[in-house]
Amino acid sequence: MSTQNQPVGFNEAMSNGDPVIVVEQLAKTFLLHNLNGSVVPVFTGVNLAVHPGECVVLSGASGVGKSTMLRAIYGNYIPSSGSVQVRHDDGLVDITHAPPHLVLDVRRRSMGYVSQFLRVIPRIPTLDLVMEPLLENGVDPAEARERAEAMLADLNLPRTLWSLPPATFSGGEQQRVNIARVMVRDYPVLLLDEPTASLDAANRQTVIKLMNRARAAGTAMIGIFHDEAVRDGVATRLFDVTQFKMAA
């Protein structure tokens, strides 16, 4: 497995077909109006193309802007300039300029995102939470239940917890619910922000296995993993964010 740090597009030979994520000249600067208009530059000039079956791991020291970059790619943060094109159906959609309903459709069908923290409506049973992305995509409720149960079982979440809302779960349990909610669907593009941070070694291995299974099926991934073992277990290449860091 390749872990070398190389510029954009260098590695195309080892992946198949056209890229499913194309980031061009992406930059992000925060402007904080309530702090005397202070300007917080994060990164600039980012170019990145990711192909099906690739897992690009964003690397760099803490605070260098990895999470910000991942969020900008997901369309959660609004970039200051540049574009992020994502494969959706048969074309590429620039989610930095697409109308809101199209961005939501890309997120619903083409691009999944595992955040660091679980954020859901309170008091909903775990199983229902995991079924939801399937139901949203028109999957039959019986099949959705089957797939959700299989996913929770794969992630070793004790069956006794399935009917409970995750609010009282441990950090690791919540994180696995979070992963299950995304991995239960086969998104062509996956963004992962520290999905294994609060997991024990055994569960980390399970997640690595799930990710590699998805990758083998052609999913393109961009992730942030501080744990070197996980990084080595999933990455097809590293992408050093430090080089795009803007001076404050």
Partner: protein, 266 residues
Amino acid sequence: MERADVQHQDDAALLAVRGLNKRFGNVVACHDINFELRRGEILGIVGESGSGKTTLLRCMAGQIDPDAGQVVFNSRRHGVKDIFALSEQDRRRISREEWGYVHQNPRDGLRMRVSGGANVAEPLMMNGQRHYGQMRELTLEWFEKVELDIARIDNKPRTFSGGMQQRLQIARNLIHSPSLVFMDEPTGGLDVSVQARLLDLMRLLVRDMGLAAIIVTHDIAVARLLADRLMVMKSGEVVEHGLTDQVLDDPQHGYTQLLVSSVLQI
């Protein structure tokens, strides 16, 4: 005031608000509001009290005449029309057939003198249903959908708790399969524990029915969980408008930044 018919609209838009203005004396309640809403979309309108949220909602629902601007609705019966270019009769018919309006206080949206079941069945009768058995059946279905005890179908709403009254109001506003529902602080007066359940219910119903909703709230957490898109209003103007997570996680306007950073964390 421009009230011309609008014929050539983008078919994708269910509702389009154009240049809407409303003042009360010297107070500007809504200034030059423009946006579109598609089928199946949930739009949240957030802002502090007095920012013009509810006035905007009531203008869109045809309850207040704006001073200027259009509210163009893609009606099943009338096609794409500025609702203020229609007669009052047609506007009332659209409101009855194709819209729902959920009030913050369920007492404003329910008839307190008739039973819960009759409250839920009323929109059916208003739209010409004259078969008691069929209405009763559908009413029972909706009691179950909003998780009300069907044994209490003939009780008066005042015997229901606040959360139950609000669920009653929601059933009443969805039973006739509207394409658009206006909600004014739908979880405003409720216990936090009841709120969560209601939020989930509304989200599921909206998803299953594919309807569009405009939800006015000052509760950022409610907006995050329900809305696809957010409009942030301040002093009658929309200061920011975008995907809910963009607006809340990466607010661009100073007021939105202040609003988001003021939310209490637990």
